[in-house]
């Protein structure tokens, strides 16, 4: 019909922009419903909304579309890991060495407990168990950061939860990289790959972080101290860094953690005000959680419910034992220590990304690994935010309710 050429052809084509919007609006609704109807944290609502629109829910979004939207998850995780890295305050660790010990203990014990539970109780092979333990020792940075921001939480439990999360995420990413040679040994690859790939990942990602932070310091010096301009420039530089890491096939996680951490600790003149990505940050948080929810494979999780429950339980016991062991002399009361351990429970998007990264290198191994890790992620995707929120409220560190009304 040449006379109606201006009309779109049928069937209507779809595009990513629409689906990006769908994700956003689903998240907004999910978050508000969780908050208002169930008094749950918004991010629990985001994940449920993602589950609802995802392939395991009403299947508005299929797997191919989810893969296309992965770029938004990469950006989100980049922003989050940068901010997380920027929270690693080496000065505090130096003044309070107990904190470093606490971190090693809670990471180490939770990993060891997960490893032995999987190998002894479920007959999982040592390599699978080790990689699952490395992924499992990390606390979800996005959940802890989002919940503390939502609650306006301030105090020692909050600060330490954030620091320990930053540290255990770094440890997890490093441990996972360190396990790569064993994976190559098991699956393929000559000695050159075995040695060079982890070195390339570690060295390259660290170097990228270093270059990015040095460049950022120059840019910040030129910009001066106007916070809004700083934030925009920072978001831009983070996007570039994420992109470069992807092109160079480096680890986005390592590079961005290094970027944030180096920037914080190299910035002697404090040219960077504390980064607060504000509304931009909130949008990417939301996207990350909705995508994490949409990516959840409920069927696989259902089959592994026993593994998932055991995984979550021993991980919690390990973290609690590690934190509580170093409470005396730490300046915290025993109750605060316990709440701190509870606050470290969440596991979410970061675990999924580490899982996907492993999967893309070792597809066969990855599938088996997913059946070990995913059930725990599904359980904690829902329970994690609730536990962290509860812990911070019981610690008396959340902003009192009346102040949030205004």
């Amino acid at each position: 019909m040449p006379d109606l050429f201006f009309l779109p052809a049928l069937p209507l084509p779809s595009n990513q922009i629409i689906w990006f919007g769908v994700l956003l609006i689903a998240g907004v609704f999910g978050g508000e419903i969780a908050k208002r109807a169930f008094f749950l944290p918004r991010i629990t609502g985001y994940a449920v909304a993602g589950l609802a629109v995802g392939p395991d829910g009403f299947a508005l979004l299929g797997r191919p579309m989810l893969d296309e939207l992965r770029v938004f998850a990469d950006i989100s995780i980049g922003l989050i890991l940068f901010e997380l890295g920027h929270r690693i305050d080496l000065g505090w660790l130096k003044r309070a060495p107990r904190l470093a010990l606490t971190s090693l203990a809670e990471s180490g014990l939770s990993a060891i407990f997960i490893y032995f539970t999987l190998t002894q109780l479920f007959g999982v092979g040592p390599l699978h168990a080790a990689v699952a333990a490395a992924i499992g020792l990390a606390t979800s940075p996005a959940v802890v950061m989002r919940i503390t921001a939502d609650l306006g939480a301030e105090g020692q439990v909050t600060e330490r939860a954030l620091l320990l999360t930053a540290l255990n995420c770094s440890i997890a990413v490093l441990a996972l990289t360190a396990l790569i040679p064993s994976l190559y040994l098991e699956y393929r690859g000559g000695w050159r790959i075995i040695v060079l790939h982890p070195l390339y990942l570690l060295g390259g990602s660290f170097l990228l972080g270093l270059v990015a932070s040095a460049l950022t310091l120059q840019v910040l010096q030129w910009i001066g101290k106007r916070v809004e301009v700083q934030v925009l420039a920072l978001v831009a530089l983070i996007l570039v860094t994420v992109g470069v890491a992807l092109i160079l096939k480096l680890s986005v996680l390592l590079a961005l953690l290094a970027y944030g951490g180096l920037l914080r600790n190299l910035d002697r003149n404090r040219s960077l005000a504390a980064p607060d990505f504000g509304l931009i940050g909130q949008m990417f948080f939301l996207i990350l959680f909705v995508l994490a929810g949409a990516n959840l494979d409920l069927a696989a999780a259902g089959k592994g419910i026993a593994i998932g429950a055991a995984f979550v339980a021993v991980r919690f016991i390990g973290k609690t034992a590690g934190v509580v062991a170093f409470i005396p002399g730490s300046g915290l009361k025993a109750r605060q220590g316990l709440l701190l351990a509870v606050a470290l429970t969440p596991m979410s998007g970061l675990a999924l990304i580490m899982l996907q990264d492993t999967q893309s290198l070792f597809p066969e191994f990855g599938r088996a690994l997913a059946s070990l890790v995913l059930p725990a992620v599904v359980l904690l995707e829902i329970a994690g935010p609730i536990l962290t929120q509860l812990a911070l409220k019981l610690a008396g560190e959340a902003r009192p309710e009346p102040a949030t009304k205004s």
């Binding site: 929270r87 000065g91 105090g155 600060e159 101290k225 504390a274 102040a403």
Partner: protein, 374 residues
């Protein structure tokens, strides 16, 4: 025994209270830290008396009763070491200064005790706005009549203390143009201001009973006057000072108050008169606004002089007394050097000009307060 008995104390003994800011070391905003900090200090058996204040972002450090500036300074330094060490372990910063430069008043949390919750519900937003940090100086008095005399006479010198201690030029993220913006916050309270013109302790007790029978006050605590008698301690309390940026300056201000009190009680240079208060509010405003450059009107002879000139003129009168108290060099440095060295408000403004960042200003305030020797 009267209901408001003045408990005599050794004349000219000294004590101070300092309200301090608790900030995080990330963006240097005020933070919720008092209960965690006090928890650590309680465990480590810290020296001296450190208490919570109305918001979680504030603690109050009180000295014991001291005879001399040297003893006071030594005690304050020991307390500072303890507080600073505890704060470092918790990654908190402790700072002086009469107000936090950029905190938003509605972010503050009320420290959970019955009295503070009562004040918060009574005064509403004023209670949270009252997140300002002052230094109170106590000077011991032999009896109630002496306390009333000194309270009146000190009003003549209130602008000195305001200008010398002023350290709150910024408020809610803006330069207020005032050297001390803190005192304007105090003005909002109905029981702020000054003592009524009573001539002795008996008369004051009469006034107090009336106020109590009206149901307006329950105790002396409810008067937020600039200078007030404190019968249960046997002191007068000077409450106009902003918390200075350093312990040393806080102690020096106390030394000046002590020397001044000795001069007034031994020489009795004037009889008290209602005239003292004719120019009081104008002088007070001038000192808050312009600090050491403020122009004061003398209530006795109407003469005009800038605060730093008036300080120089005052020093010879108190010098001998400072000498006897063993604090002459400190008082001399404070009064004679005021013009050149300026007050903390001037230093804070210079710092902001240099760094262009309020966060950097607060970080520097923390360094000033927590540093070992200043």
């Amino acid at each position: 025994m009267s209901e408001l008995a003045f408990k005599p104390s050794r004349p000219l003994t000294l004590g101070i209270e300092l309200e301090l800011q608790i900030v995080n070391t990330r963006d240097y905003n005020l933070t919720r830290g008092a209960s965690d900090l006090l928890g650590v200090l309680a465990k480590s058996g810290s020296p001296g008396d450190i208490k919570p204040e109305i918001t979680e972002s504030m603690i109050e450090m009180s000295s014991s009763v001291q005879a001399s500036h040297a003893g006071l300074l030594a005690e304050l330094r020991a307390m500072r070491e303890a507080v600073a060490a505890a704060a470092r372990g918790l990654n908190l910063g402790i700072a002086g200064g009469g107000a936090h430069p950029f905190q938003k008043w509605n972010d503050r949390r009320i420290y959970d005790t019955e009295r503070f919750n009562h004040l918060a519900s009574l005064y509403g937003y004023l209670a949270k706005q009252f997140t300002v940090f002052g230094q109170h100086i106590h000077v011991g008095c032999a009896d109630g009549d002496e306390a009333v005399y000194l309270t009146h006479m000190f009003s003549r010198f209130v602008p000195h203390f305001i200008a010398l201690s002023a350290s709150s030029p910024f408020h809610q993220g803006e330069d207020t143009l005032f050297d001390s913006s803190r005192l304007s916050v105090v003005n909002a309270f109905p029981l702020s201001g000054r003592i009524p013109f009573v001539r002795g302790w008996r008369e004051f007790e009469g006034y107090f009973s009336k106020m109590r029978d009206f149901g307006i006050v329950g105790s002396m605590k409810d008067f937020y006057w600039d200078v007030r008698p404190k019968p249960e301690y046997g002191t007068i309390e000077i409450r106009v000072c902003d918390t200075p940026l350093s312990i040393d300056r806080a102690a020096a201000l106390a030394a000046y108050a002590q020397a001044l009190a000795r001069y007034l009680r031994l020489e009795r240079p004037r009889a008290v008169s209602d005239d003292l208060y004719i120019v009081y509010n104008v002088n007070r405003f001038q000192a808050c606004r312009y600090g050491l450059e403020a122009e004061l009107i003398d209530p006795f002879d109407g003469g005009r002089a800038k605060v730093h000139e008036d300080l120089v003129a005052t020093f010879p009168r108190v010098a001998a007394h400072a000498e006897d108290l063993g604090c002459r060099p400190v008082v001399q440095g404070l009064l004679m050097g005021a013009r050149d060295s300026g007050n903390d408000a001037r230093r804070l403004r210079a710092r902001l000009k240099e760094t262009e960042s309020f966060a950097d200003v607060v970080r520097w305030q923390c360094e000033q307060w927590m540093a070992k020797s200043s």
